[in-house]
Point group: C2
Chain length 454, copies 2
């Protein structure tokens, strides 16, 4: 039957590249999220046009085949993991920047455009695309939209949703719709653009994206401040707020993260303190803001780096690339909790207690400006099933405690497949049911990325 | 039958204030939008708690009675106009600020809280609620959420949706749900918070709102620049963008608006130019940004007011309060178009042509930073039906032309009842149908604010 289905696919979308070779299927079977059960797709298809995507979805509706849309596969929640009897719809060949309109301060792109490539293209006009997930050099804008990706600059510039003005979306039955507007503001009808953003490909396949661009900052200043411990560094976050400075970037690293960076890059961060606060200000007020930041952090006992902006910027780059430091003999799970800002310090204290209770290792980085934490728990792979059980117990408890503090299970990575088990702890059953019914409006047969997001 | 229904209502929600007196019904029969057919509601009810609202909606579901939720009634699209056999659900008594959490930079409010009152309460903490519709001294946050209200500060700080983190909503059947998160970021599940924001009370009744607060700017500078005509002033808008300055406020007034202000306030604006650009910068870089603004506008031939910031600020206040200048012997209709920024000047040229073609009067103000224009067309009331026909022809053409330029029929006021006739010009039938089906998920019997928004 499988062969028959694929034969039908090939005939339905003549000329569209597709593959069924085992090596390819294996490569496209997962994203960078934890895998609970590795499943190979039936095929991978690479549409190159909106019409191609419509053809694939018409075929999928007719044959009742599950479709897993995929950008660069850099997601970390399993949103692009293959599910049983699915095809992978890779948007990576739809990677043209269709338009940059400097006076309108917007760009129109295909979903496969790499985040960093759009920024390169916008730079000559003095513009930038603000949302900057750690994967910005690899991840696609389609994937960014699917997960409503965050990044380092979110506290000031907002998340992906705040930069998306309009979408072209192919629905499960192949219908092409247009949502939103080519203007910064617009309130005609329901906010379908926002509904698609972050829906992880479960409501439709995004084939065109209009984004707002922002001004490249006239000036950028970076401050690094070392603190004896996480508690004092977290107090620094609140003090910067009390000084009414809105940094573009405000990253908080714990001692274990500093040790890991030292190990990887030969730096000496850990000898200089037990926690590091990296703050970047930008725009016409960057220097005045940096001065205010240095003043309040020094007053709190922080050691403000005397190396100047360049060295601090190097630290921000180190931080940006600290993602995904896989170690062969360890099992690591990264998380994506967000808590109200005032709870940062209490939550990290709780994380440290949990790590001790469950005998697992821990390091924490936080986008401190918006209370979004990325703790990583890990064990030695040699510890086997008992170790994994302790790891999972720590994970589960970290979720429960975050929710008790008024937090969320995912600040920016998405629910995907991996976090589905925690969603009912955050959302009441009525809300879960409403989402299932919204899903049914868009995709009655349930062929779009089943088992993800809701 | 009507008496029976009301008797049942009174018994279903004992202790909840309600009125059926003709004077009250008349007062609550409409908002500030144009009225096509004046309809009196059956009753007005004033719930004081979430439980009261649930009681009203359970009763309304049982009796299949239409419910029109209402804040302060300052909307201008007829979103709160009474419809046939409806009750008005006034949220004005649910006006408590429940919590201001300075370190978390958020506030939790009931829907009846006045926008300006929240700002007063936030001020002692160095914080503000950014979205500032012209009605901010009267309009409620519930109404702001229902319309996804904009305002003067949107280009920099975003619209209402960008400040709403979480909602408590009572659904048509009386179920209370919670959407969103108490954190700046959060991507668990679909964005129901965004879906409710701007849905004009057609999906549920908002009974609790968590908003993000922003820092009160450390400094504010205001620049007023007079230009010979609208064309050169609009060029100034693009020049400020090219200088990479993001003003907090950027208002553009045409000559007719200046004349109207002169008439009302005894000023001499019109003698000083044919168009006025008012720009406010804020934050640590305010002075540097204002200097950059003055430089680029002078270079373009603008006469930058030498009166300094105080006089320019007085002009911003005049502009803020230029709304709703009803004149007894005239019929006026204000609009709320948004176009891509580069089209501002072309669109205003087209408006002037239309006004001449259809022999109607015209004045225009624009939130120029985000391309949102408020043209007002008017005729003398004595012109009767023929005048009204010309007025409507001008309105219709202004919509068609805006859409042709890539614009939207409503930047911030909402569709309500008045703009429904234009919605199918902006949105394809598939999108309209999807919205009707989403509405049916939340409100299958269609009792919530029927005939509005979609």
């Amino acid at each position: 039957m499988t062969t028959e289905v694929l034969h039908d696919l090939e005939h339905s979308i003549p000329g569209v590249a597709f593959a069924t070779e085992s090596a390819v299927l294996s490569q496209y079977s997962r994203d960078q999220g934890p895998v609970q059960e590795l499943i190979e797709p039936l095929a991978v298809v690479w549409p190159e046009s909106v019409a191609d995507v419509q053809g694939v979805l018409r075929w999928a509706s007719r044959s009742n085949t599950a479709v897993v849309p995929r950008g660069a596969g850099t997601g970390v929640s399993g949103g692009a993991h293959a599910t049983r009897n699915c095809i992978i719809l890779s948007l990576e060949k739809m990677n043209r920047i269709l338009d940059i309109r400097p006076d309108d301060e917007l760009a129109v792109v295909e979903p496969g455009v790499i985040n960093a490539d759009l920024n390169e293209a916008a730079k000559p006009f003095g513009l930038m695309y603000a949302p900057d997930p750690a994967s910005y050099r690899f991840s696609t804008l389609g994937g960014n939209v699917a997960t409503n990706a965050g990044g380092l600059r979110c506290a000031k510039y907002g998340v992906t949703r705040d930069s998306v003005l309009a979408l072209d979306v192919v629905l499960a039955d192949g219908t092409l719709i247009h949502t939103g507007h080519q203007t910064f503001k617009g309130v005609a009808g329901y906010d379908l653009t926002g509904l698609f953003t972050g829906s992880e490909g479960t409501l439709g396949v995004v084939v065109g994206i209009t984004v707002r661009l922002r001004y490249l900052p006239a000036d950028v200043r970076t401050v690094a401040a070392f603190f004896p411990d996480f508690r004092t560094a977290a107090a620094g976050v609140l003090a910067v707020g009390a000084a009414r400075v809105q940094p573009a970037i405000m990253e908080l690293l714990d001692g274990a993260t500093m040790e890991a960076l030292d190990g990887a890059h030969g730096s000496d961060l850990r000898t200089r303190g037990g926690a590091l606060l990296l703050i970047q200000t930008d725009g016409f007020g960057a220097e005045a803001e940096a001065a205010a930041v240095r003043a309040v952090l020094s007053e709190l006992g922080g050691t403000v780096s005397s190396e100047g902006s360049a060295e601090a910027e190097r630290l921000v780059e180190l931080r940006r690339h600290s993602r995904g430091d896989d170690v062969e003999h360890e099992i690591r799970v990264g998380e994506d909790i967000a808590v109200p800002r005032s709870q940062l310090v209490h939550y990290v204290a709780e994380l440290e207690r949990m790590a001790a209770d469950h005998d697992v290792r821990l390091k924490v980085v936080a986008h401190a400006g918006d209370g979004n934490l990325h703790p990583t728990f890990w064990i030695d792979a040699a510890e086997g099933a008992a170790g994994t059980a302790r790891l999972n117990a720590a994970l589960d408890e970290s979720i429960t405690v975050a929710l008790r503090m008024g937090g969320t299970i995912t600040g920016e990575h998405g629910v995907g497949q991996f976090k589905l088990r925690w969603l009912p702890q955050e959302q009441q059953s009525e809300v879960l049911e409403l989402q299932r019914r919204i899903k049914a409006v868009f995709d009655p047969a349930g062929i779009l990325n089943p088992g993800k997001a809701i």
